[in-house]
Subunit: 425 residues, 2 copies
């Protein structure tokens, strides 16, 4: 399968943010050529697409989400965090089946495609069902365990680690725990053994709320990052989701170990968790990626909103309009996300890289004039500008049409049926 | 001209947020019927539109903008406020012609339509040119003077007040001053005389930055709201744009006089000006409306982003996820904006009201499931959900197509030409 995109502006996202005017060829699941207009004689293309001057760039990596929570979107907003979790979310999740998770993940995938997301880092119930939904629709998915005291045992995580890695080119699996406050010390110690057995990185929700940090310090005399480090959990890398309430020592530890921060500003805002010190992470050279968190706490899966919030909230926090340059944010969304997720061939556009590509429509008023296209994407871009989303060489979304499934309406209907059933007494 | 919308969910935005399933008829520029399915026998419609279960609601009112600043979108981001204004914005504005303002306002109008904005409150150069652009495209526009020490004289404001009010059904004009820090006390006193002569409300940028407030207190021993009140400038109502740094006394004054706060969270975030105390305004019963501010400081004209920021930033400021309910925000965007702008017939959908109506597409993944549609609009809605924008009974935007102008590309080209000319040495 050969696809040729021509008449394009190509933001490869390589160092220096070059913008190449020319064309891009895709052969099967990889990029075969990126550069100036090229002689096509003797080459047979299955499809040739005139980009009309629009931008091709690497897709966004949603580096933290719980896709299956789509059922609970707008189910319970404007509530205090603990009440929301305990009275609204947990009771419903307890009733959710594997098939529900599959159906609800499919709904989330449709939304990712409209937002130019080409890979997700998903921590939720029954990863096998998430994987199935992603394979069926063509979404690239890095699964991560949300191990805790109340769910499936450690052995299940190890089994999944061995089974899900290598099962399909779109799927990989990382070890992880839900959070310090949902895991006993014994469980964390067992996880550490497993981490060392496989020399594997570890991922976790970390320091999302001040209360979480305070309680951890009370329990262990250490913050969550320091506790995890003391147990050897970060000996092979990985990182934390949220990372809102870090002290100097936490940051130093993340820098030293090369751990990733995945920031989730939409969720941290809506749940009033606080503003992560992103400018301080960058100053120390800590790599930052971006995630939406789940659609129940955000409530949308929109990387444009997240990108604006990453820089905007940093500007407010630092009281400095020059804090966290928009171009840095674009790198977080495209490149750092890929690296955090172990997708080393999906970071930028170049020959041999994976064809996880989006097209940004510049023929829209919010993208004009073209003073600086990368800044337009971060500061005024929106889902309406996503003209195409291609994953692994397959066009899954084009001009508002889903090519990844026959009937999106059926998926909407199922989501409505599921929430009606789950929320029934 | 009679248009019938049927098979609709109608969020009238009346008290209690009723959602009517049925139809809505438009006769010329006004609503002729809202209610359940109705017998159409004997009625001739020029157009009948199947809404397919989508939402009809009043359009958003962008209650503070400077439309003509589209030229400077992404022209100079990530810069400290004063450097940005003095080295990048003011020198360019000095070279801008009336025709530039017309062309750049047209670009902004295209973007407003994609965001469901049916009326704008616009303070910028040469209001005659803004009015012309709005009339030519069908946008409803409330102009407001940005009088200051350096621009056109007081007499020009009075002339415009008399000339522009009543010139066209889409256009009205309010008196206003740019800000305390750009007006001498003598000028403010003269404005007060004019306000009293016409018993007119007054509008101004107010307490946008802490520095502005501090310098005003240094000069006059009073905050900007207190100074304006002491000069009688608020004796006939009006209000302030931004209102980020208010003290207790300022708030009490706004409450007592029934003045409006127009909040601009996108701009206040990007320029690191601070977070307005919106929850505290609401607690006191101060009416709050929402504006995008100009596209050079935001950088987009997207009421969805603003709505999320209004509630999100309030939640962060109050450290309370239940602060500023999403439904309150929707009222600010639709109803309060209309009231602030003197558009008393554009506040909600009912027989006899102006047909300033938008259709929200629910057949998109970010709107599903339909747990609570009004919350979906505020928390997960985006421009991609704006299926139609109708102003004064005319459909100006439908299914991604602009019906208000023949060639949007020509408008984009002009904007690029203008910024190239303005920024040339």
């Amino acid at each position: 399968m050969m696809i040729r995109f021509y008449n394009a502006r190509i933001l490869t996202m390589e160092e220096g943010m070059p913008m190449v005017e020319g064309e891009l060829w895709v052969k099967d699941e990889r990029i075969a050529y990126v550069g100036e207009k090229k002689d096509t004689e003797g080459v047979t293309f299955d499809q040739e697409i005139d980009c009309e001057g629009n931008v091709l760039m690497p897709g966004f990596k949603n580096a933290h989400t719980h896709s299956g929570m789509t059922a609970m979107r707008s189910f319970a907003d404007d509530m205090p965090l603990q009440e929301w979790l305990n009275t609204k979310i947990f009771p419903l999740e307890a009733k959710m089946t594997g098939q529900d998770n599959y159906d609800l993940t499919q709904l989330a995938i449709l939304e990712y495609l409209t937002s130019g997301v080409t890979a997700i880092f998903d921590m939720y119930l029954s990863p096998e069902d998430i994987a199935r939904a992603c394979i069926d629709m063509g979404m690239r998915c890095v699964l991560v365990s949300g191990l805790n005291n109340f769910g499936p045992a450690l052995e299940v995580m190890e089994e999944r680690y061995l089974k899900l890695n290598g099962m399909h080119p779109l799927i990989s699996y990382f070890m992880g725990v839900h959070a310090e406050y949902t895991c006993s010390k014994e469980l964390l110690e067992q996880v550490s053994e497993l981490i060392h057995k496989y020399k594997a990185p570890l991922w976790t929700h970390m320091s999302e709320t001040k209360r979480e940090v305070d309680e951890c310090v009370e329990r262990y005399g250490m913050t969550p990052p320091q506790l995890f480090d003391s147990l050897g959990l970060f000996d092979f890398g990985g990182g934390g989701y949220h990372c809102v309430h870090f002290d100097e020592k936490d940051m130093e530890l993340f820098r030293e170990k090369g751990l990733y921060v995945v920031t989730n500003p939409g969720s941290n805002t809506k749940l009033a968790s606080g503003v992560a010190p992103v400018a301080e992470y960058l100053r120390r050279g800590i790599p930052v990626a971006i995630g939406t968190d789940g659609p129940s706490s955000n409530n949308c899966l929109d990387m444009f909103r997240e990108m604006f919030l990453v820089t905007g909230l940093a500007k407010l926090r630092q009281k400095d309009a020059s804090a966290v340059d928009g171009d840095e944010v674009l790198k977080m969304a495209c490149v750092n996300g890929a690296k955090a997720m172990g997708l080393h061939d999906a970071d930028f556009l170049a020959e041999g890289k994976l064809a996880d590509i989006i097209m940004i429509d510049l023929h829209q008023p919010n993208m004009q004039p073209l003073n600086k296209i990368s800044k337009n994407i971060v500061y005024s871009g929106s889902k309406q500008n996503v003209k195409m989303t291609m994953i692994n060489g397959k066009i899954l979304y084009f001009d508002g049409k889903f090519l990844c499934c026959e009937n999106p309406e059926a998926i909407y209907e199922k989501a409505n049926e599921i929430i009606a059933r789950l929320s029934a007494e």
